[in-house]
Symmetry: C2
């Protein structure tokens, strides 16, 4: 089940972007597992990648290619992560890019490769090579839904969103898709997410913008504290909307930034709503902290606590577990000043249960599918907000049976 | 189920220690929930406590009492943690100690109180007061098994062990009991553990010794990364074995230290073997690390990974999850040099799957109930070893249903 997540009926095309998804046979179940995204010439492309030391071969190659040439194609396969595959993994990733370049008559460095799926198995490059002619033949502007479905692994819902805004009386479109349901605590970037706009914007500002929106969206979610080896988030701008190119942080930039932020926040939260086994969508808000880092540390400690997560699954207002998690977060505060809320209900004040709190109030909040946990540290003025899911039987089931 | 953990048939008395356990009615199921431990006069007592900021009222009071007077009694209740209870909690803990002191005609500061159970409910002191006459009447030297059972909460097995050694041709006995099955990542001390010896040893050395053995035993286990609000480990020495008092780290100290270390390691591992829902007992060994802290960081990152834990539950040699956890541990190393082993089987070398590794080898190790995961970082000469359990349906079940 997915918590309050409805699949989009349609996604808007972005001028200058064409997509396709085909069956290469990498996944066992014969669904689309190879996605190709084409960027028109003169497009700008920015990306952030996982910080996992064991990052996958395609991550290393995509980073290098992004730095050395203008990106024309993204090649994404699901069903195999090409991670933990050593030198062979790098050869396979390179060979995939060369195959795309041969078809497109461009340079191999203009291809960014992405892989998602099981870690530690060699990528079946020959299957990818065989499927490429069909992938090129199918490229179309209106294939965002098909591409979104093609990158899914344990996801139960397609995750995508479109928004439009006006810049200098030109209509600018932003469309994004993402995938991810487990092994989720992005660190720098996340799972796989592709966001495109036809706005014209300089590469430098595009990269700035991506980093800012990722920090408050993809880098603020966690399912299970596990940072994937393959996380990546790509932001593309084709410049075909007709607006004058944005080269400074002016009103146009802010307008575009706000829409991009909304899109990435939606996509990041969609991952949590569809998290493996999730029955609850939890917002953790830490306020009045000394630093943002401390606020995030407290939020993540609560979000990762298996005991808090199982209590949320059981709809049990066992708030002592929240208190215990806050207490071990390694952040300094005065017991008497801290306040903890479930929704609008104060549960902890003055070092213990709030005098006005009743179990009935707690139960009422816990019965909801979307729950806000707010912690006020009263040690400063910083705050942080992160999103997470509960820990259910199905999380264990999905992850115990993943490869079988 | 408990992994390879057999309850002791008997535990040896320790001269100078008497124990009892009675039904005070704090637990709902009318089993023994109040334990009294008496130390003979002139006994030495050392303790380490949880570092959780929200530590329980009895923890605060026990610390203060231990520092101010010679301990004569430990009063331990299960079924209620007296944590998150603010000022009322401190009053309740004090009143419990005063009640014991009145019976024993000693000072209230000579009582150390301990509580374990649900967080956030007031301690029913009147029930404790009513049960105390019976608790005093039942005090006996041979009641270690009864006391061990009286401190259990979600434990499925009594955890206890006895060992003897010779010091200056005198027989010295060490007996210990512990409880704990969830909310387990001790930080400084753990759950509840009581170890007693009749050896004569100075208080200073006793505290030193406790800190050293706790670091390699109770502070090296984790079930779910949750540090309890009530963790405590107490080491008592009555001095009645007849050995000359140990006042320096001589051969006698080392002989006693080794036995105490063996006892605390057994008790710590017993907690993991009986961890909530555990079907596997996992040893994580990190070698050739730059610092012990880095070795522990890598070990704990793998031990806390829900994806690694569910793969272990499923007996799935999905070693990519181990590699991904090592990669996100935040410790620097060279991908090409690191090696990861399942048991004696090398799974990762040279940045990817070891060439000689086969899935059959991995499956054979994963089918076992006790599994060693070894990670060689090759960044220095330090190492660490910690113990953990897997993540099963039953962990979720036990913790989703704990209060219902």
């Amino acid at each position: 089940m997915a918590v309050g997540l409805i699949e989009p009926d349609s996604l808007m095309p972005v001028k200058g972007i064409r997509l396709s998804a085909v069956v290469a046979g990498i996944k066992k179940n014969k669904t689309n597992d190879l996605v190709l995204i084409e960027l028109a010439e003169a497009s700008q492309c920015a990306a952030v990648f996982t910080k996992n030391k064991f990052c996958a071969a395609p991550v290393n190659l995509a980073k290098a290619n992004l730095a050395s040439a203008a990106t024309r194609y993204l090649l994404i396969n699901s069903g195999n992560a090409n991670a933990g595959t050593g030198e062979q993994g790098m050869r396979d990733a390179r060979q995939s890019c060369q195959a795309v370049a041969a078809h497109a008559a461009c340079d191999a460095a203009q291809i960014l490769p992405f892989s998602t799926g099981v870690i530690g198995q060699n990528l079946p490059v020959e299957k990818i090579e065989k499927a490429l002619p069909e992938a090129f033949a199918q490229l179309a502007e209106d294939s965002w839904l098909i591409a979104g479905r093609g990158i899914m692994t344990t996801d139960t819902r397609l995750k995508g969103i479109s928004r439009q805004l006006q810049l200098q009386e030109r209509t600018v479109t932003v469309t994004g898709i993402s995938k991810g349901a487990g092994m989720i605590q992005p660190d720098m970037a996340t799972m796989l997410s592709y966001i495109a706009t036809d706005a014209a914007i300089s590469n430098e500002l595009l990269q700035d913008c991506l980093q800012e929106i990722v920090d408050v969206s993809f880098n603020s979610i966690t399912v299970d504290s596990d940072t994937s080896t393959n996380d990546a988030c790509v932001l593309m701008a084709t410049g075909q909307a007709g607006n004058e190119i944005i080269v400074e942080k002016n009103d146009d930039y802010i307008a575009l930034y706000n829409v991009l932020r909304e899109v990435s926040l939606y996509l990041a939260q969609a991952i949590i709503r569809d998290a493996e086994g999730a029955t609850k969508f939890i917002t953790l808000e830490v306020k009045s902290a000394a630093t943002t880092a401390e606020a995030r540390q407290v939020a993540y400690t609560v979000a990762h606590s298996p005991l808090v997560k199982t209590a949320l699954f059981a709809s049990d207002p066992n708030w002592g577990r929240i208190l215990a998690a806050v207490g071990r977060a390694g952040v300094d505060f005065e017991l008497e000043k801290i306040r903890i809320y479930l929704g609008d209900v104060c549960i902890v004040s003055n070092g213990g249960r709030d005098p006005a709190y009743t179990e009935e109030q707690g139960q009422q909040i816990m019965n909801q599918a979307e729950i806000l946990i707010r912690i006020e540290l009263e040690t400063g003025k910083q705050s942080a907000r992160i999103w997470t899911s509960d820990l259910s039987y199905d999380y264990v089931k999905i992850n115990a049976e993943y490869r079988s």
